[in-house]
Symmetry: C2
Subunit: 417 residues, 2 copies
Amino acid sequence: MRYSQLFGKTSKTAPADADSVNAQLLTKGGFIAKQMAGVYNYLPLGLRVLTKIQNIIREEMNAIGGNEILMPALTLEESYKETGRDVVLADILFKSEGRDGSKMVLNPTCEEVITPLVKKFVFSHRDLPLAVYQIQNKFRNEPRAKSGLLRGREFNMKDLYSFHKDENDLNEYYEKAKQAYFNIYNRVGLGDITVLTYASGGAFSKYSHEFQTLTDIGEDTIYLCEKCKVAVNKEIIDEQKACPSCGNKKLIEQKAVEVGNIFKLRTKFSDAFSFYYADENGKQKIVEMGTYGIGPSRLMGALVEVFHDDKGIIWPEAVAPYQYHLLTIGKEAEAAKAGEKLYADLLKKDTEVLYDDRDASPGAKLADADLLGIPTRLVISKKTLEKNSVEVKKRNEKEAKLVALSVIASEAKQSQT
Amino acid sequence: MRYSQLFGKTSKTAPADADSVNAQLLTKGGFIAKQMAGVYNYLPLGLRVLTKIQNIIREEMNAIGGNEILMPALTLEESYKETGRDVVLADILFKSEGRDGSKMVLNPTCEEVITPLVKKFVFSHRDLPLAVYQIQNKFRNEPRAKSGLLRGREFNMKDLYSFHKDENDLNEYYEKAKQAYFNIYNRVGLGDITVLTYASGGAFSKYSHEFQTLTDIGEDTIYLCEKCKVAVNKEIIDEQKACPSCGNKKLIEQKAVEVGNIFKLRTKFSDAFSFYYADENGKQKIVEMGTYGIGPSRLMGALVEVFHDDKGIIWPEAVAPYQYHLLTIGKEAEAAKAGEKLYADLLKKDTEVLYDDRDASPGAKLADADLLGIPTRLVISKKTLEKNSVEVKKRNEKEAKLVALSVIASEAKQSQT
């Protein structure tokens, strides 16, 4: 992609109301643009990152047997009355109304849609277990949308729902889903600093689990057990005074940001919608359910909070909008020509490359490369051309090296998408 | 994919309120499930079709320089007051409200979002022309949502917006977009029966254009000029009494379904948002705009209206959920074993295959294959195995042929996705 033709350029200043590192850097870099509090536009660079995160999540959900579907945003309010969540969630529901007077809700999650939907197709123990997910926008009428992509009023979410014949089967699948979540954090580069955190399971299950990434922005206080590398949230520590996994009482207070949660719903929603199946003996039994959420847009914000320096973003390769950021320095026609040639060679190799072809100062181009945070920067100048070379520098390293122009394209990474 | 593990099975009866062929067949086939009037869930098979249509559209938009972005559904109502569309569109706007009392609209199209957004980044003639698009759900508070996926209250839409320094540049791009639209209809198999139709251009342009597909369901009356293969809508024919392209006065009345529209907005929205650019001499000039819409979900409905028979859907290859529908007939272990082996071989070849591995009657399996409409059916039975063969039948042909088991996998089409 030629930077000159890319919609959404960098700006030197972040908007005054950008209250977090991710909002500042993503806005300055031209990844996102705020529509209103908690609602963002994704510009081409931002949409590329979001899509890569979604695809990693999609692959991991498919790997644990998830069937991808797409549910709507609009749902009749009466479905929420059946579960009582019209009251429980009243504060955060966006509502609307049809011309026929029908009352509607913009789904904040989709238990009220998926449970009756799956009930239409599941009748027997032979239809279970079943796992269904979607990647779609959700709506929450937050009183104070804040922290950029971390807490939105309209945000992207992957929600998986699993359906089981009994608690044992739910428990088994729950462990698989837990592992899939760790795979996701590992793949996007957050594995080392993301911990499983015990949280309240509500009335139906002893615990639910959050995945918390340790960062400076940390919105949540968690208590880390260094013995077994899990954490507990405030509610659990106040009640139990110890790690639920090993009993250790010396837990370390940390601030973290939640990047996912999984929850055994048990029969909360199958009860509400009378969702039964026929077991091996033809007896009607209630369906057990689990729910598993992760927000690709929130994860994008968390990644920027973790991976940045004072110059800009430092994207991990797996989610970077492009793998290479090519630019030329100097007014010499020779450099521009070599830049064009290398760009063409990289495209031929099916490489993800952003080519800064603007007539801008070296300082501006280099500063933008640091701000955008693409993993590998390639610089061509009169100096590098004297050695028939290109300067190669990783965004997360200090040192640059010279690589011969004749080999750079052949060594370049092919696009994975 | 094993049919036994696919979420969303066929049903023998369509819901009583399915008022169109597409709603009936897509529901019976387990492609979609109605949430409420004009609002649908996409089950795995339906989502695969929708995604294929979206990807074809995406490729054609990228080919004419479209930058893909993603705008939100929620927008402040005040943006609509600036253009007067809070009044013009009042009947079809879904509205909501934030907890802070802010009035919001669920976007029915995105001119009120894209114009101020692009204005943030475009200042000079050097930043033009620019084309930006998204593929995203839109909301219209239709009084009578009907005809399945053809007229929804929440529906999927690709909306492209183009920005130009003058009318000539807009006109040139408009012709390119027109061709891109024809490419899309050709690729999904509707090219031969989709005609460019002159419609009113409103106050700012003589004509806009619709793309109308000639089908039995035809919601719109159009007048076809057989000389130059374009059509005009009722408004234009009443005013002009002749084909605007060749002057021919003998036009043939037809019923058709609209599958896209393109429109020269000229300066309607740039005026409303004071969107100017500096020309070569530094003089401020108003930006010219075009808008180009196509609904992937509506197109999916139109495809079913066109491509079906009394047994079910007949998907064109380009949008089919899978390319091959494999099934075995008979209780012999031999047939099941050969089915499993062929399924494994096809997967190894990266082929899109749906394998009906259920223990169901031959009649049920064959009827489901016809209903689902996957282009190529592969049947293994005792009879075909006696000739070491598989029966190959195209959904849109009457005759089947025998193909040797040893060559079928090697001749199979690889997945394009």
